[in-house]
Symmetry: C2
Subunit: 408 residues, 2 copies
DNA sequence: GGTATTTATTTTAGGGCCTAAAGTAAATCA
DNA sequence: TGATTTACTTTAGGCCCTAAAATAAATACC
């Protein structure tokens, strides 16, 4: 009699199975059971359904058969073509579009140089529709459906309402974006902060998997942060949590791009480092307010090779960073702090003073067992993380849709 | 065939019913269904079970019968005597013990003056066992069982391991406490930070109920904080999260009780205010490192009546507090910040400079819609919150135990 | 080569939980 | 007194899960 109302138990188990497959690659039914605490009878039933829906496939047995007695395992894997997601990464004057398959692999990537700072919100939406449309036409053959789109943007976003509250890449504010794209492409549209994408990606890597409380700090032109609590990004009331760059180092200190004084960003970001450096050093010409990668590398090189003025600047940045991290430790008490972003190029020159500042600021009890590590920067991390988040978020939807189709 | 393994669905629904009854007082079955999204048939089944276990009771119909047609509602309420919990609040040189019934009402309260600072961990446990034992003998008649004990202590505690990592009330560290009490009294023993108890209590009040992201700052001899995310205290990796008092205002600033410099606490706590004041003002004699309530009230009075030196001291404290809160806003982006604790007595004298500091530190986008309010201090709030938390935590256990009994 | 053993997966039998609908209870209204 | 309204309980049936039995597909051993 009961309606086919979505039983949460079954639904959750189905999602758990898909997640296991995405995280671990091909897995046998019996292991799916053990991994998720369900009986193998239930796994049989769930996988039968997924198989019929085309979301998973049995992998043909490998030729060099695995050693051991007994009936060999039948490995199951996600069907890559079952669905795809598109990630759009929006940075200052550049957008990157990436396609990921149902298994989370990247199947296409493209970059475009555009003047984001001079665009209107309407222009931006039009541009995105155009680029995504082009991808739909040329790159999505072989995929059953487009499950979702993710916009990964620097700055403050409200994921719930799908609005970009503020971004350094854009000159307009409070722009609702998701809804229009969702309507145009008939799929879930996620809006995420770029640091959250990177943090999610890092958290999924086995070496960091133990950290239930992970902080990722991104150094670059600005300074961003993401806090993952039990694997989910902490976004606060309006999505503006974890604004580490604008937490304070020194009341009435150096001028920040935000207009206030004494922010960590006003000491340790690229523009702050370069601004300070131009006052004391002869450096390659260029826009000193928006230093290029070359300009920053030149400056970093000076610091790393012992130029006293450059070293002093990086040491001071390290100190500001250290005091800022001390506050993060006192307030979040994370297992692990990972420092990454393009700015890690200069991390070696900041490290000593950073640790000195932390030790100076906090008693050892509050530093606790928190590990502080740096992580080499890779610009593709944002999109990889965004794809993983989007697949995670759209699985539920995907299943419901398929169910609807089946019933129809 | 299936074992009577605890089905999470039923268990969760049962807990939801109990929680509804605790939060809303007497409720009819049909409303319990609506409140928790379950059918009234299921409510009948769940309440029948609870009725049989003696955890709830039908309330006799009220004499001035409620207006309206149709069969009147049969209100159900928690049976107060079904279980009780004991809360022990541990402060500097004082312990308070409170008994709460199954409905969350306080039925007994007592205070004891003891020299906590000179005690060993073993002494403390012995003392607690003694006092709790006495209560069990004299105050728990009419209760079916002691469901749990909660220790609410100032400082850093590890709830999981049941150890007091550090407390300003104690001279020893890393003392496991919960386990011994649990063994002695055969019940769940919770260990909680006092600020978390207060925050939980405040969060349950209707006026603050909307805040899914609540920060409570406690001013007093020291400065504590609690962050509630979706109603649950955020404790971090080792329980030392939310150490607002030791987040930084000024690198190399005033000396803090922790031994480091520039902590918010070194400016805005009672001892900091009084220390600064004794250098410039004639004040009542007494231990200036541990100012009494009288001493603090005298100082506050001076500030509030316009004494320029006292006003300056409170204004500076307000500024430190404001910069500290600015960091909290940037990092947690809460809906609401509530300032309470005995130190709110001087809040009026700090308020102006506090808000000025916040405005000076942050762009309006990051202050967002966060409300910052003060809340009158009541020393019993800690225990009331602790009782609520303990009942919440022990309900699950209570049900399982009863089940075990039924089966035996 | 043939049987025993081992391990994986599927089928079967049965219990728990939930819901909709039907049935019952207890009021007010007329 | 009976119709109506609202609350609660009982009934019938479906979903989902699990343990155990059955089946499948290998290897090990003689």
């Amino acid at each position: 009699m009961a309606l086919p109302s979505i039983d949460t138990g079954r639904h959750e188990n189905t999602l758990a199975v898909i997640r296991s497959l995405r995280d671990h690659g091909p897995v046998a039914r019996i292991d799916l059971g053990a991994l998720n605490g369900i009986s193998s009878a239930t796994v049989t039933s769930i996988t039968a359904e997924l198989l019929q829906q085309g979301l998973i496939a049995e992998r043909p047995p490998e030729l060099p058969r695995p050693t051991g007695r007994g009936r060999p395992k039948t490995l199951i894997q996600l069907a890559p073509g079952a669905a795809c997601v598109i990630c759009v990464k929006l940075s200052i004057n550049e957008i990157q579009l990436v396609v990921g398959d149902f298994a989370g692999q990247i199947t296409h990537s493209e970059h475009h140089i555009v003047h984001t700072l001079t665009m209107s919100a309407a222009n931006l939406v039009t541009l995105l529709e155009e680029k995504i449309s082009a991808i739909c036409g040329r790159q999505l053959e072989g995929f059953q459906r487009l499950a979702g789109i993710c916009l990964a943007v620097q700055g403050v976003v409200s994921s719930q309402s799908g609005t970009i509250t503020w971004s350094p890449a854009l000159s307009f504010r409070n722009a609702p974006i998701s809804a229009q794209l969702a309507e145009r492409f008939h799929c879930t549209v996620l809006l995420e902060n770029d640091a959250n994408c990177i943090a999610s990606l890092l958290a999924s890597q086995p070496e960091y998997a133990h950290a239930t409380n992970l902080v990722v700090i991104m150094l670059g032109y600005g300074i961003g942060m993401s806090v993952l609590i039990n694997g989910v990004p902490f976004v606060g009331a309006n999505g503006s949590a974890a604004e580490f760059g604008h937490s304070k180092y020194l009341p009435n200190g150096a001028l920040c791009a935000c207009g206030r004084r004494g922010c960590i960003e006003a000491y340790a970001s690229d523009y702050a480092l370069y601004r300070e450096a131009t006052q004391h050093l002869a450096l390659p010409a260029g826009d000193s307010a928006h230093p290029s990668e070359q300009q920053m590398q030149a400056l970093t090189q000076l610091a790393l090779t012992g130029n006293p003025e450059a070293s002093r600047i990086y040491a001071e940045a390290g100190q500001a960073l250290g005091y800022g991290i001390a506050n993060v430790l006192a307030l979040f008490n994370p297992d692990l702090v990972i420092i990454t972003g393009s700015g890690v190029r200069g991390f070696e020159a900041m490290q000593t003073s950073m640790h000195a500042a932390i030790d100076d600021a906090l008693v050892t009890e509050l530093i606790g067992a928190t590990r502080i590590e740096s992580c080499a920067w890779d610009r593709d991390m944002t999109c990889m993380g965004a794809i993983a988040m989007t697949l995670d978020a759209t699985d539920a939807q995907t299943l419901l849709d398929s169910q609807t189709v089946r019933e129809a």
